[in-house]
């Protein structure tokens, strides 16, 4: 497994963990009525900022853990090179995820025009960010595996 594949797989795992974390934390706060008041967006933003910081930590732990697990399981050091195929796969996956994000944000703006609240819009944008990140890594994994 190349460095690009390993990074993509650990990225997928990180996205899944972080998504569950975000969903759990924000839905708990929503159930507790924290987002009912006039300062809902500020409370939401503080939570999201905290979760972003935690997510960076999760990403580092998963990347290191996955690298150790891979080495122990396969016994191979792995190729730590990135080459032109990695860059080609990155570009193709990034293009698709940008399409999702761009059209998604356009959809959110239309939703706002139709009367959706700013709070709903911010949550949709957050979900779109997670979704586009997941799509990018999923597409990369498919492209890597297709040639294997």
């Amino acid at each position: 497994m190349s460095l690009g594949e390993r990074e993509t797989l650990s990225g997928l795992i990180t996205t899944l963990i972080v998504s569950v974390l975000f969903l759990w934390r924000l839905s708990n706060q929503h159930a507790a009525g924290l987002f009912a008041g006039p300062d809902a967006l500020q409370i939401w933003a503080r939570s999201v900022l905290l979760l972003v910081a935690i997510s960076i930590g999760v990403a580092i732990v998963v990347a290191i853990g996955f690298s150790i697990f891979h080495r122990l399981r396969t016994g191979e050091k792995g190729d730590d090179r990135r080459d032109e195929r990695d860059r080609d796969i990155d570009r193709r996956a990034l293009t698709l995820s940008w399409y999702l994000l761009s059209f998604g944000i356009l959809g959110v703006i239309i939703d706002l025009v139709l009367g959706a609240s700013a709070f709903r819009a911010m949550n949709l944008i957050l979900a779109l960010c997670g979704g586009s990140e997941f799509l990018k890594d999923a597409v990369k994994m498919i492209l890597y595996r297709r040639a294997a």
């Binding site: 190349s2 190729d79 090179r81 080459d83 032109e84 195929r85 297709r146």
Partner: protein, 69 residues
């Protein structure tokens, strides 16, 4: 549909059964990229194609051929 075919597997065999890893190290890419090229799943850049040809000491068109089908 145009298709690029290659003789890398054959050339490796003729070069003392050079492994994919050896070729990858010589041209500066991963073994997975060589595998993808051999299987026709990835078309290399002109730069990499020339490096592969040079490694085997043959002209480019002895490694890669272009077919209209």
């Amino acid at each position: 549909m145009p298709r690029i075919e290659n003789r890398i597997r054959r050339l490796r065999f003729d070069a003392d059964e050079m492994t994919q890893k050896d070729l990858a190290d010589r041209v500066g890419v991963t073994r997975q990229t060589i595998l993808a090229i051999e299987n026709g799943k990835y078309a290399p850049t002109l730069d990499l194609a020339f490096r592969i040809a040079r490694t085997f000491g043959v002209p480019l068109d002895e490694v890669f051929t272009y077919h209209d089908s």
